[in-house]
């Protein structure tokens, strides 16, 4: 498999392994909120766990981004493309494909909507299994 077309599925802890490489990765998880600049329009996203709203001083407000909880519970920020480019994040559970900007930020490339229900613990097990040295060689 050609390298640039693979996008390994990662959780929050493993993003740092791909940081800065430009290699796309996938993060499967739950969308927590979306923050948008007042003068941009954002599509409607299910806002859950309002008490989990992740306001960190380093997030600048002039980018459109969303925060999601990855399969291992860690929070990941996803930088959404500036409109007029649309993004199709509509469901609570999504898989975001993108490049790792830093250890906890992904730059959005594509999104797969996964519906309202997903067993994140199971997802995490699968993610960890794919990195298990015993099986890794066969997958990538």
């Amino acid at each position: 498999m050609s390298d640039e077309f693979t996008s390994p599925r990662v959780n929050a802890a493993r993003i740092k392994d791909y940081q800065g490489s430009g290699h796309p990765v996938r993060v499967t998880g739950k969308v927590l909120n979306v923050r948008f600049c007042p003068d941009h329009r954002a599509t409607r996203v299910a806002v859950t766990h309002l008490h989990d709203l992740f306001f960190s001083p380093q997030f600048s407000d002039d980018e459109t981004h969303l925060v999601m909880e990855a399969s291992d519970g860690g929070h990941v920020k996803v930088l959404l493309p500036a409109p007029p480019q649309p993004h199709n994040v509509t469901d609570t559970f999504v898989e975001i494909i993108g490049t790792a900007v830093d250890a906890s930020t992904i730059k959005f490339m594509a999104c797969i909507n996964m519906g309202p229900k997903l067993d994140l613990a199971l997802v995490n097990q699968v993610v960890e299994l794919t990195f298990d040295p015993k099986f890794r060689g066969r997958l990538f």
Partner: protein
Amino acid sequence: MSTDLTQGICERLNFGDDDDESLWGTKPNLQLLSIKKVVANAAINSPDNQGAPTTDRYRIIISDGVHFLQAMLATQLNYLVEEHRIGKNTIAFIENMSCQHIMDRRIVTLLSLRVLQRDAQKVGNPAPLIQPTMDGPVTSTPVKTAPAPAPSTVAQTQNQNPIYPIADLTPYQNTNWWIKVRVVQKSRSFNVILMDNSAEIKAITWNAMVDELYEKIQESRAYFISRARVNFVNKKFRNVNDYELSLDRGVEIVECQDADVPVIRYHFVKVAALQELEKEEICDVIGVVREVGGLSEVMTKYNKTVQKRELKIVDDSKYDVRLTLWGKQAEKYCTPVDTVVAFKGVRVGDFKGRTLSLLSYGSVAVSPDIPEAHALKGWYLDGGAQTSFTPHSQVGLSSGSGGTINRNEMRTIFDVKDAQLGMSDKADFFFTRATIMHIKTNNLVYPACPIYEMPEYRYIVSMAVGDHTGQRWLSGFNDVGNILFGMTGNEFQDIRAQDEAKVNHIVHSATCNSYNFVCKAFQQSFNDQNRVRYNIQRMQPLDYLSETRNLVELLHSAWARGGAGHVNFEEGHCQVNDAVDIRLRDCETSSTSRCRRISVTTVTRLFPLST
């Protein structure tokens, strides 16, 4: 119009002349004493009737208050009976009637009538008339014979069926015979099974005692009984005891209030040990009910329907088995799953392994207060529920919940061919999970029962399924089609008749889905060639969540952990633990290391892909 019956008309109709216009043109008031459906039996009727669809005919007893007479209802009036416009004791104004000659008898036929009073009291006390027997062509002189009993050894019923003497009945003929008999005696009886710490015995009562004792003796209560007669009994029907009790007049029955009442004694057999029992053996079982099927009706040999319900029970011998309840016990069963239930009096069957069937005199005890039940409950709550049970029978429950795709017995497509399933004389059953690659589009539906104007269209599906090891052609029938396309055969046919392109679209969407299959592989000879065919017994859409959990568990299990670095296994069986028995197959062409590839399809299939 008054509802008085036209007295004397029956006698006239019976003895009158066929040609008597004034007689047959009369429009009397008659009471329909009884209406009986008679199905014309094509096999017995005259040859020119064969092949014609059988119609119901209704035989009616008409009365004028003085006499009663047999008559037939013309078929165009059948609706009156079916819509309940006429019934027992209906008084009707007969607008048109005629007589027909069948064999040597005259049958009055009611061609047209008007209901005067649908429900009425029986009028008078009508007496029977004797049919005059006609020999030769009809004469014009009326025949008046004194009513005399007309015995004949082989008389005719309304339907021309021959009547057999009782002495000629044998078990070897089929059940189409008729006998004409008089009831000499009628009695009622009920029986109970009694038991104490030593043994069991059956007790019967008859007639008058039935009324006295029926309420007095209740199930699960205890009694002191005295002055009952002990009889020998035909051991063929029960293996409970050589004797039975007869509860006649003079028997004394006193309810027992003691605390130390004999309890029901069970001889439980562990589910795993059922394998050692022979077919037809009777035993008791106790287990946790895991699955309860729905109530269904089945036909018995004698064209009677009986209710049936299937359960699946497990116990701490780590086996599970199907148990069938019948009749009232099936209807009454309403215990939720995961309860301990004891079954007394189950018969062992060997249908595809071992199955159990509750006998009519067997009993069901929910959560009984016995040590075995407590032990089972304890085991079940303590993790027993999570055990993988080995089934005694390969096929899942016939109705209701789930079905039992046994994941431990899953085979890959390659395996199916390699293990030569279906090559032997016996049919083999197997489970597999595969994806539909291609569905043959010609002849997907056929009209069942083409004679009807509105035949029901049923599916017959031939499709190629594949997994990462290979591809096979399977065939399935109506159930498979329903699941595949999500619509009934009739709906499919409607679309097919209107729009070919849409059919292609539907078939296209049905392709590339994955299912769990229970299949039957068997040999079939086709133009002198023996081919193995695979029939789909059951097809189930995948519950990705549980399938994935299973796979993850597998990957964490000892099998996956074996060996550091990469996994190396030899071809063949690999016993991992008690419950899992996996056959591994090579997926790569390399001859040195044969490893089972953790299939990429199963990982990516974890989530639905958006297309």
